[in-house]
Amino acid sequence: MADKGNDPVAIWQAMIGEMEKGFNSFANQAMASPEFSKVVNQVGGATVSAQKQFGELMEKYLVSMNLPSRAQMVGMAERLQSIEGQLDEIKAMLGQMQRASGGADSGSAGAPRPPRTRRPPSSGKEQK
């Protein structure tokens, strides 16, 4: 095989790598200037205003189409989330009750949990 110094593919890859570094470095210098920040933020500001107006227009359109309002959908999602939260609480309480009643130490999946007796290898026990 050709050595790396003569391999055209390796030379091409090295060239790409150098171009990447060079361009990134050049761009970083340009982006560090206050002028860059000014231009970028002016453009960004205009985009934000346009986005806001478009959003408001869409909202009005959906209302006129007699579709469920955003507030109603959010309200339903919150109710579902609250039910899920209560189920989590019940699961945790059941786990605690099981442990308190002397049953196997079970995790949230119901499987027995290993004992919390592990020691690092240097303190006498072998690492598993």
Partner: protein, 360 residues
């Protein structure tokens, strides 16, 4: 006999044959690449302990016969998904911790909904983290908890630790965590207070869209995305390369939006006023001075981190009040420090050797 540029004709012939074969493979695999689904990530078995809006608390099922007494709670950065720490079997930090006998929980984030735009920094530090710690204590039956924070997750963990220095946090591990935000020079310039109107942005659009977050990350190395696509085409015959590329690309582009008020506070308090570094930070009216942190702390930083440069992270260890503290600098970048082949060799074993003795 050598050619004028020093190439042996026989080896040139072999090289050309190999390149022709690769060109054919590129065409075949290129079609496969476009047609196939993105890889499945974050598949280590886990249970969802709790979800509330943007907040998700997972518990990973232990796989060792015996586990350390102190559970570990990982606090993920709010800009990205937690599966960077659980890519695929054999390349998963979570799986590594489980095999080494840790009981692992993760506080991960889903995109905040438009109505969550009012979530403030104090909701994250004074509500979400304490709530998750309480649930970890309840689930594990242990009062002590080790916190591991990645990137901005590390900042949240630091803020929490400085407000609650008396526990229950037993150890703190930060990965690439900035505290001197004035040293994040490009981010600072993008958000220059003379030109960047954060109030107008948040008041207009609420949550900061993920495209904006992703663009600001990509602008730090503007040529790298194009070059990585050229490199993908060159290596598309190599299944292992393509698999790794797709994993990291999927994660990198899976950026989360940021809650508006939270973003406003980060911009003003950290980017503009550098309050965490100056010791003047407060969250919800409560002083958050990291010199109050006294627990053992390990800070892992990356030598070639372009997102959190070393200058932005280097003062963390000096500023915390802990007697037992260590900074470790490892080869790699912001992501390769925690995931991928480098992390497997470097960071993960280091973390295990540091944390094992402090988890009993």
């Amino acid at each position: 006999m050598n050619t004028p540029i020093g190439l042996d004709p026989a080896s040139m012939s072999e090289r050309i044959q190999a390149e022709v074969q690769r060109a054919i493979q590129r065409s075949i695999k290129g079609v496969e690449y476009i047609a196939s689904a993105a890889p499945s990530l974050g598949s280590t078995p886990k249970d969802v302990l709790h979800t509330r809006g943007t907040m998700n608390l997972y518990h990973y099922r232990p796989i060792a016969d015996e586990i350390y007494r102190v559970p570990v709670l990982i606090v993920m950065a709010t800009t990205n998904r937690g599966y960077i720490l659980d890519m695929v079997p054999g390349q998963s930090f979570i799986e590594f911790l489980l095999k080494r006998g840790y009981d692992v929980y993760m506080l991960d984030w889903t995109p905040p909904k438009p109505e969550e735009k009012c979530l403030r920094l104090e909701d994250y530090v004074l509500d979400f983290i304490p709530d998750c710690i309480r649930r970890v204590q309840q689930d594990s039956g242990e009062s002590d908890v080790t916190l591991i924070g990645y990137c901005f997750g590390g900042v949240l963990a630091l803020l929490y630790g400085s407000i609650f220095p008396d526990g229950p946090m037993k150890n703190l591990i930060c990965f690439t965590t900035p505290i001197d935000f004035h040293e994040m020079k490009l981010f600072r310039n993008f958000s220059d207070r003379r030109y960047f109107d954060v109030d107008r942005l948040v008041d207009s659009i609420g949550n900061v869209p993920p495209e904006m977050i992703l663009s600001s990350f990509e602008m730090l190395r503007p040529a790298s995305r194009t070059v990585s696509q050229v490199q993908l085409w060159e290596n598309i015959w190599n299944d292992e390369y393509v698999r790794s590329y797709r994993m990291f690309d999927r994660w990198a582009t899976d950026t989360l939006p940021l809650a508006g008020e939270y973003f406003r506070a980060i911009t003003k308090d950290l980017m503009w006023d550098n309050k965490l570094f100056n010791g003047t930070m407060s969250v919800g009216g409560r002083p958050a001075d990291i010199s109050k942190i006294r627990v053992p702390i390990l800070h892992a930083v990356a030598e070639h981190d372009h997102i959190v440069p070393y200058d932005a992270a280097k003062h963390l260890i000096a500023k915390v009040g802990s007697a037992d503290k260590e900074e470790v600098m490892l080869k790699g970048g912001h992501v390769s420090l925690v995931a991928g082949a480098n992390a497997i060799k470097r960071l993960w074993p280091k973390l295990d050797s540091w944390l094992g003795g402090r988890s009993i």
